[in-house]
Every structure is written in C-alpha cells, then in structure tokens.
Amino acid sequence: MREQDIICEQNKVYSKSRILTDATMHYCPGCSHGVVHKLIAETIEEMGLQQRTIGVSPVGCAVFAYNYLDIDMAEAAHGRAPAVATAIKRLAPDKVVFTYQGDGDLSAIGTGEAIHACNRGESIVMFYINNAIYGMTGGQMAPTTLCGMKTATSPDGRDPKLHGYPYKIAEMLALLDGVCYVTRQTVASVTHIRRAKRAIRCAFENALAGRGVSFVEIVATCNSGWKMSPVAANKWLVENMLPFYPLGDIKNVKEE
C-alpha cells in the first residue's frame, strides 16, 4: 500500500485542533505549554464549547495564549486571573471560564487570589503549569523550584535556609470546601498526555455542572530555563520532579 493511498480524510486519526489558530507559537522548541494548549483546545472542540468558553491568562510565558486559542480571552495582571475569572463567571454564569497560570503567577504573587477563588467555590477551571522556574523573565527561582535546583536567582542551587522550601499548592487547595477536583498531571510522554487530557475533560465537565473549582496542575518542563534539550528535560522531569510532585487525583468530590 502506498503512502498517498492512506492519506485521505476518512483515514485521518490525528490532526491539529480547530480551536488552535494558525499562529506560530512563540514558545521555545519542546515547551510543555504547546502540548497543554493543544489539550485544552481539543477538549473545547470535542465538548462543543467554543462559544461558551472564556479564558484568562495572566503574566508569564502563557500570557499570549490568546494568540493561539481561538476563543474569547482576557490577559490579566500578574497573579490576578482567579479574581478576573470570578467576576466573569459570576456575571456570565452560562460561560465556561478557565485560568491558565504558571507557578510564579499562581503560587507566588497570586497565592491570595488562587486560594480565595477556590474558597468561594467559583465554578471555574484553574490550570496550573508548574515547571519550577520563571520562564518568561529568564529562568529565576520559583516557589516550586526543587531544593538544589540551579536557577538565575539560585545559582548555587536552591538552599532552603536561604530561599525556603518548594511547596505543593495543589494539596493545600484540596483542603478547601469550594474545590471539587484537584489533580496533578504531566505531559512528559504519550501516556501522560492522554491521562492529562482525561483530567482536563473532567475539569470542564465539573465547570459545566457548577461543582466548584477544578484545579489541574500540569508538571511541565522549561527546557530553556533548565538548560536542557526537550527530550532530556522530559526525562529529568520524570526522574526529579515527579518524586516530589506525585501524579494523580488529589481530590475528586464526584467520586467520593
């Protein structure tokens, strides 16, 4: 059988989501953001939510998510996406509202907004991209940077005496009554990506059902910030990040 005989519409098993625009992403080669954007786009497409979804992306590499996702979106100030999303959801309750935040954004400058949106039980989805570093500003230490990990502001490796400890905000948020679903996933391999997509779908379903906050953490790579090749970064993530940030559902009210 020749290749050109296989390539036809009816045999298509995987193609770019219609919810992704034609713009070339500004992310570095191999960046996890591209994969997560894709999963969100596919989920919105499969669930038929293009018109109902409004995204909020605050400061960080993914502030430009609005260039790539073909839905209505707002940029937000650093850390403030959950507050912005709160108002959108309260004033337009028929909309599916999500935030897309990095670790610096959600677990440093925007901790307060994250916790209180969760505590109020806003029926929104919060995506938390944890790559243990500040990517956009050039690789500085994040709250989630592992002990010993070298960054631009911890050049000798993160020393908890000097910088404090990395922390797991997903587990903290799971304690709040307004939160219905907390899961930690990654996109480091095909299997991981397929699982992450199921989690994203579950989160959107919760938002539609008005169950409260769904919090989806994605343990991600920043290969430029980590100064590794994309393939090596994924391997490093599995070997170093996952032991500290274990994968799986931390809370799922629907199943309890």
Binding site: N11, Y14, I193
Partner: protein
C-alpha cells in the same frame, strides 16, 4: 490477516525541531533533518514511512501541532477494491 498501515504528514515549516516526536515514535519512522527550515530550525522527517503504524504518538507529543496522522487497515482497503 489485518495489517495496520499509517502515514504522517509533517508541516516542516511549523516544526521547531524539538525532537520529541522522534523520541515518541515506537516504530523508528522519524528522524531530524540535516537542513533547516526558513525559520532556521531543523525539522522532523519520515525517514522510514513504510514502518508507520499510525499510532499518532508523534502528533500527540508535538507542542506545535505540526503532524497529521492517517491510519488504514490493509484488509479493509482490499474490500474496497
């Protein structure tokens, strides 16, 4: 016997040469180019297209959504003929 055949179409101009697809391919179909595209990146190529089983792993891991995957059962094609 049913044999599954696959094919990939790669938007080489969109590719940034991260190599995640090459790593993800279980059938050794893909490799990185020696040349660069107009944006200066090496890009992925189907070196052994006949080995493709259409599993879509390469496309699933691609952060830039450059790969479209097709799959056909050889038997079903014979039926059509």
């Amino acid at each position: 016997m049913t044999k599954i055949k696959g094919a990939v179409v790669i938007q080489t101009e969109q590719c940034k040469g991260c190599g995640l697809c090459v790593e993800a391919c279980v059938s050794n179909v893909l490799t990185m180019s020696v040349n660069v595209n107009s944006r200066g990146y090496t890009y992925c190529l189907a070196l052994n297209p006949e080995l493709c089983i259409g599993c879509a792993s390469c496309a699933v891991v691609c952060p830039d959504s450059c790969i479209t995957v097709y799959r056909q059962k050889e038997e079903s094609r014979r039926d059509e003929e």
